[in-house]
Every structure is written in structure tokens, then in C-alpha cells.
Subunit: 423 residues, 2 copies
């Protein structure tokens, strides 16, 4: 079966998982060259069949417009030749990444004389549930292939035709390279009840990655009997210390808040040391001038005209818009307490020239990425040198932060002896 369609019952889901398992077993021992050849074939297929994908996408977009989806949603959905070219380029970038599978770490001779260490292996069968852009279909498939995993892709219903068209091309490329096409299966958009069935397939799915709004992720976490990596919201803070270089602090604030306000590593709350407030807060006029709304505590309101009074609800809020909460704090400890209480374990930053404060901040803040003297926007798989990312985890189990290829693998123990037994 090529790509799957309704109706979906538990038997169908199990059959797809079983087909994925068979494919995963064939992928696991492959050498890098075989996987890279498949990815190159996928990239070529996408470049060679743009018209078919664009036609499918056009139908999705027309339906989305008719259904009254927001302009932002439609912008995420739309494909054009340039975006498709970028999708193909991204597949080639994933092919160019080194293959984590097979890596052997910590091999050493133990007191028993047995030589033992760990070897990196694929997880097996990944399921991905996502709402957003059709390019995720190809990116996720490419990352799973490269790391030797089979994947079930369940995209959003608004992108159904686009995902199917892209999925067919991916499968054709995989098949052309002699790999099992069931390594990548496109699951139709599922109802909540059907999704619950999928989430319940304990033992059939090694990792579920949900990507989308908080509602989707909470639904998956609530109903999953399979392992889930969770990414809740990004409520990112920047603490401007008493010793901060204020021009740097302003540039970082502007970049972190305004470069792309709708993403999870954008800044949501600025904490300003009381001794820096008098000099720094007036500089935030630049954000007001750029159309950013500022919501401050009393001290901030007193220092800069145009700042609206913040309410308790503004602390810990993920605005995902050109809105920034601003608070004056007494010292580093107060900043750490605020972050501990209102942060979301995503990205937290400090701007400080005090080496001791930077060290404490980096060490003590519990977040997937803790940054000193740079923009929160650097918490990103590409920026951190992972290549593409398949998701981002804000919980500590298995992965914490951007998940690249290595996060799609595990380490098993291997041991070589010469007849040793335990005494």
C-alpha cells in the first residue's frame, strides 16, 4: 500500500506499524551510502515533480481559503517552486550530515577481560503527529531515513493533498534506491478517536513526536501509552544584569523579540536588574518605535512612557507576538526565582559582564538551552550545529532541547569475550 486513507481502525494502524517494523529492520544495518543514495533520489524526485505537488497544494490552499483559515495558517500551507526547491535542498543537507548509527562509544576492557562498550542504533518505528507546514513531511522522513528509522507521518488535514503528493515522491525515491518504501508511510489525518488508537499502540511505536499547538501536545501526552517527547510552550526570558553591556542587551532584546515573534525561542519576558533599569529601560523606546507592545511593572512604567501596566497573567505568558513583558528585579537570585516560577524550560538567557553571574546562570537555570550574551533565537538545531531538527523537547527524558539525528537513536551495549563466565 502506498499512502493510507480512511477508514482507520486499530487493525489498520497495527498493520501499518507492523509494516514499519519490517522496514525498520531492513534499515537498521544499512551503511550510510545506501541511505544517502535514497535521500538523493528523494531530492531529485521532488525537483522533478514540482507540478504535481503544486497542483495538490493548490487544492489544499483553495479549500483552506474557503474554510476561512487565517492568513498566517495559509502562509504556512502554501508551497511554491522556491519553497519546494528549499525542501529538496534540505533533504540534501540531511544527506550531508554524518550518520550517527553504528558509532561505538566507551569500548574498554573490563576487569573480567570482556571488552564492552555501547553502539548507537536506530530507535525503530517513529510516529510523528504534526499540524504545520507540508515541508515537515519531507524533513521528518529524511531525518528518520538517515537515522535508520521507519516513520509514520500523520500531518494536518488542511495539508492532506500536499502531504500525500510529497509522501508519494519520498516513497518512490526510497524504492528507487532499493530501500523498503514502507520506511515512510503517510497516515491520513486522524480524528481524535483514531489518534487515541494510535497513541495506545504500546510496543508498536518506539517514539511519538507531536509537533503543533499546546492542545495537540497535551492530548498526546494524556493518551499516549507509547513514549512521547514533549514540547510545550517557549516562555523565554532575558535577564539584563547590573553589569550588562546595555547596547548588546538592547540588540539581543530586539533580535530575540522581533526577528520572528511567532516562534518558540522568541523572547517573552525581560528581567532588568534594578541598578541597570534607569539606564536600560528608556532604551526600550526602540522596541516601542518598532511597534512592539511593552507591558511593565510599576518601576518600568515609571521609567518609560508608552509602557502598559503588566498584570500577573503577563508573567509566564507566551505571547507569540510583538508583545514583551518587562520587570525590574533586585538581583540575580530574584531573576532566577522568576525564571524558576514562570519559565517553561525552553530557552533562558542572561546578558552580563560578570563572569561569576554568567557561570551561576548557566549552571543553575533548568532549561533545554541556557544562553549568555546572545539571542534566545540561537536555541535551534541548525544554529547549534545539529543540522535539521525533528522537534524540540522541553522535558529531560531522552532528549532536552533541539532533537537532531542523534536524538533518533539509542545506545545498546555490546560485549566481546573469549569464553568468560561470571564467578
Amino acid at each position: 500500500m502506498a499512502v493510507h486513507d480512511h477508514p482507520v481502525d486499530e487493525r489498520a494502524l497495527v498493520a501499518w506499524c507492523d509494516a514499519a517494523r519490517v522496514a525498520a529492520r531492513r534499515l537498521a544495518p544499512l551503511d550510510r551510502a545506501d541511505k544517502d543514495a535514497a535521500l538523493e533520489a528523494v531530492a531529485r524526485r521532488i525537483e522533478g515533480s514540482m507540478d504535481a505537488v503544486l497542483a495538490a497544494n493548490d487544492a489544499d490552499v483553495r479549500e483552506a481559503r474557503a474554510a476561512g483559515l487565517s492568513a498566517a495558517m495559509i502562509d504556512r500551507l502554501v508551497l511554491d517552486p522556491k519553497r519546494l526547491q528549499a525542501v529538496a535542498a534540505s533533504v540534501r543537507e540531511i544527506a550531508a550530515l554524518s550518520d550517527p548509527v553504528g558509532e561505538i562509544v566507551g569500548m574498554r576492557r573490563l576487569p573480567s577481560g570482556v571488552l564492552a562498550g555501547q553502539q548507537r542504533i536506530p530507535l525503530g518505528v517513529i510516529a510523528m503527529i504534526y499540524e504545520s507546514r507540508p515541508n515537515v513531511t519531507v524533513d521528518a522522513a529524511a531525518l528518520c531515513l538517515k537515522s535508520g528509522n521507519a516513520v509514520l507521518l500523520r500531518g494536518g488535514k488542511e495539508a492532506k493533498r500536499s502531504n500525500l503528493a510529497l509522501g508519494e515522491l519520498v516513497r518512490a525515491g526510497v524504492d528507487e534506491a532499493g530501500l523498503p518504501e514502507d520506511a515512510v508511510q503517510i497516515v491520513p489525518p486522524l480524528s481524535r478517536e483514531e489518534t487515541k488508537l494510535l497513541l495506545g499502540l504500546s510496543g508498536k511505536i518506539d517514539l511519538l513526536i507531536p509537533r503543533g499547538g499546546e492542545g495537540l501536545i497535551r492530548f498526546c501526552a494524556e493518551h499516549a501509552r507509547v513514549p512521547v517527547v514533549q514540547h510545550y510552550k517557549g516562555v523565554c526570558h532575558l535577564f539584563v544584569d547590573a553589569t550588562a553591556d546595555l547596547e548588546r542587551a538592547l540588540a539581543i532584546t530586539q533580535n530575540a523579540k522581533l526577528q520572528r515573534p511567532g516562534v518558540c525561542n522568541a523572547l517573552e519576558c525581560l528581567l532588568v536588574h534594578r541598578r541597570a533599569a534607569g539606564a536600560f529601560v528608556p532604551k526600550l523606546q526602540a522596541l516601542l518605535d518598532a511597534g512592539c507592545e511593552l507591558r511593565g511593572d510599576e518601576a518600568v512604567v515609571a521609567l518609560l512612557e508608552g509602557v502598559k501596566p503588566a498584570s500577573e497573567d503577563d508573567w509566564g505568558e507566551e505571547f507569540l507576538a510583538a508583545v514583551l513583558a518587562v520587570r525590574v528585579v533586585d538581583d540575580l537570585d530574584a531573576a532566577l526565582d522568576h525564571i524558576d516560577r514562570y519559565g517553561s524550560h525552553h530557552t533562558e538567557a542572561i546578558c552580563s559582564e560578570s563572569n561569576g553571574h554568567v557561570d551561576r546562570f548557566l549552571r543553575e537555570v533548568d532549561a533545554s538551552c541556557v544562553i549568555a550574551n546572545a539571542s534566545t533565537r540561537f536555541n535551534d538545531g541548525g544554529q547549534l550545529g545539529l543540522g535539521a531538527e525533528i522537534g524540540i523537547s522541553t522535558t529531560k527524558l531522552h532528549a532536552y532541547g533541539p532533537m537532531g539525528l542523534t536524538s533518533l537513536t539509542a545506545l545498546k551495549w555490546i560485549a566481546r569475550g573469549a569464553g568468560q563466565v561470571r564467578s
Copy 2:
């Protein structure tokens, strides 16, 4: 509050988790010396208060005998001065292990100029649900302390008094060293309904580790809304290849099956290459002589008197006793297929002088530990150089195999810049 008692409602469980969180925040930035000092104080308290622990244990044992618990269960429960001395020694061994927290890996300058890498941090709050020996209470507390985690310990009701007495000593030692005593909390034996409440505390517990029978682990996996590391049964195989050194193969079989038949890394099924069967199967007389029951397929039954015919149920069975299933297979692929179908991803071994077959087996078998030419009994935290283990995972997320100190930590990203912003 020292150690907790009934009644247990959700509010009480949340309060204990919150106290653990406060303690975890104090533990996280500690240096190794502070944690080791607390462990030394714990070891001294145990050595100095043996009478109190033995009296509590005696009461548990008497109640267990009156309730008709099996001799094996009672043997696990009983403490004596020698066993308590071993418990204290084990705490000192954990103190002597290097501290994984704070380790920085992969720090490098990225194209943006930002210096980024990952730093190892504690998970936070661990909950452990276990049935077995009272020494687990101390071992688990020591491993969690050393790795900077707070822990809630819920032991079995048959060991209630012993666990409370040991827990008091651990907490006193922790307090004596100036660490927060709520780093270690002894939760009373919980009913199934109370356990469900604990398993549902999403966001309050960073990792749940169940240790015990398959029923307990399935119950935890089914009801958990917190991350769980799962360890199901150990159905371990040994494949004796055509080229195997048969004396080695016999010694490994005897050790793996009979040294301690009731443990999860004991051998349950022997797969013999058809070309080795004629010479090897008769050697299994040594196991029959040692009182081991053999259940074989037709070929095995024909080669050795005293072998009982195996039924389909014997493949994939975890006997946990001096019973071994034996099957003749045509080749390495047939052995791999059998293991794929009946294995439990715990420990799988090959005995072979063929380098190619050893390589394929090590690479292709999906198990937490894959062993060539040595006993399955080497899949053990101590044997593999981890020091003590807090559990063993047969699923791939976060940890696969024995879980030592490092499995109780996570890596967060840290980044240091000089004012960089994203373009």
C-alpha cells in the same frame, strides 16, 4: 516531616513531590565533595544503628512468615549484620564513583561565533516503586543523591518497617552533612489506587522507575502520565554457531543458566547451529546432571536422552528456574529470526569463532546488551563498569540496559556569546 504514612491522598503526594522539588533545586548545583560527605554520613549511620534496623527487619520478617510468604521472598527480606555491612559498603562504593553532574560535552565555536555545547544536569525528582529487598531503599537513595536528584521511595509493604528504619538513617545522614533531608522521602506502601494518583502527577515527577514483577511494571506503564523507564522480562538466548568452541559454549551455557537461574540476565533458550548439534547437544548432559531440566525440539530430543519435548510455549518463556529450552536452527539467519520473534530485548549472546558472524550478531540483534563469547550474566551495571545500577531498561528511550548514575542525568544546552544575534 520525616517519613510518610497513611492516609495518602493526592494532596499529600503533591506536597511530597513539591518538597522533593525544593530539595532537588538545592542538590543540583552541589559539588561532588558535598554529596560524597553526605553518603559517608549515611554509611556511618547505617553501621552505627544496626540494632534498630535489625529490630525493624525482624518485625517485618515475623509478619511475613505469619502471612505465609515464600522462603525465597523471606530470604530477600531478611537483613543481618553482614548484609547491613554490605549495604553501607555499597553506599561508599557509590560515593567513590565519579560525579556525572556538571560534565560539559561537545563545546565548540559555531559559525555564528557562539560557543555552545551540552552540560550534564540531574533529572530532578525521581520516584521509585519497588517490591524487593530493603537494600534497594539505600542503594536507590545513594544513586539519586550522588547524581543530584531527589527521590521518593515507595517500597513493598512486606518491608515497610525495614524501609522506614533505613530511610530515617539515610535522612539523618543527609541532614548531618547539611543537605536537605527531603532529598530522600520514604513513601508508605501505596494501594493500587494511591499508586495511580502518584503515576498521574505529570510535571511533578521527572522519572518513574518501577522495579519488580511484570504485573507491577505493566501497571505503572499503563497508568503513568509521568515518564517511566520500563524493564519487562529477560528472555535471553545463546546461539551456538557451527564454528563455536564447544567447550567454551558449554561453560557459558552452564554459567548463564545455572549460576543464578532466578535473575533477568539468566539464559532461557539455547539455539544450536545444525552443524554443531551432533557434537554439542550431548554435552548438555552436564546440565541434566546438575539438575537442570531441558526442553528441546525434535532434533535435540533425538540427540540426548532425558530431554523433554518442548512445546511452542517454551520459546519466549522466562523460566527463572533451572529449566532451559533448546532448539536446533539451520543457520545464523534462523537464529536471528528466532531471537527477533521470541526475545525480550534484554540480553542476547552468540558463541562463534566466525568473525563475520560475531560482527553481524552484535550489529543486528536489537537488545539492551548483545554479547559474543561470554556469559549473558555480564549484562549488569557492576560488570559493565557503571558501578551500581538503579534499574535496567529494555526500551530504548533515554536508557537501554543497566542504568547507572549517568542514566539519572540529562544534557542541557549551554551557549556563551559576545552579543551575537541571529540574522
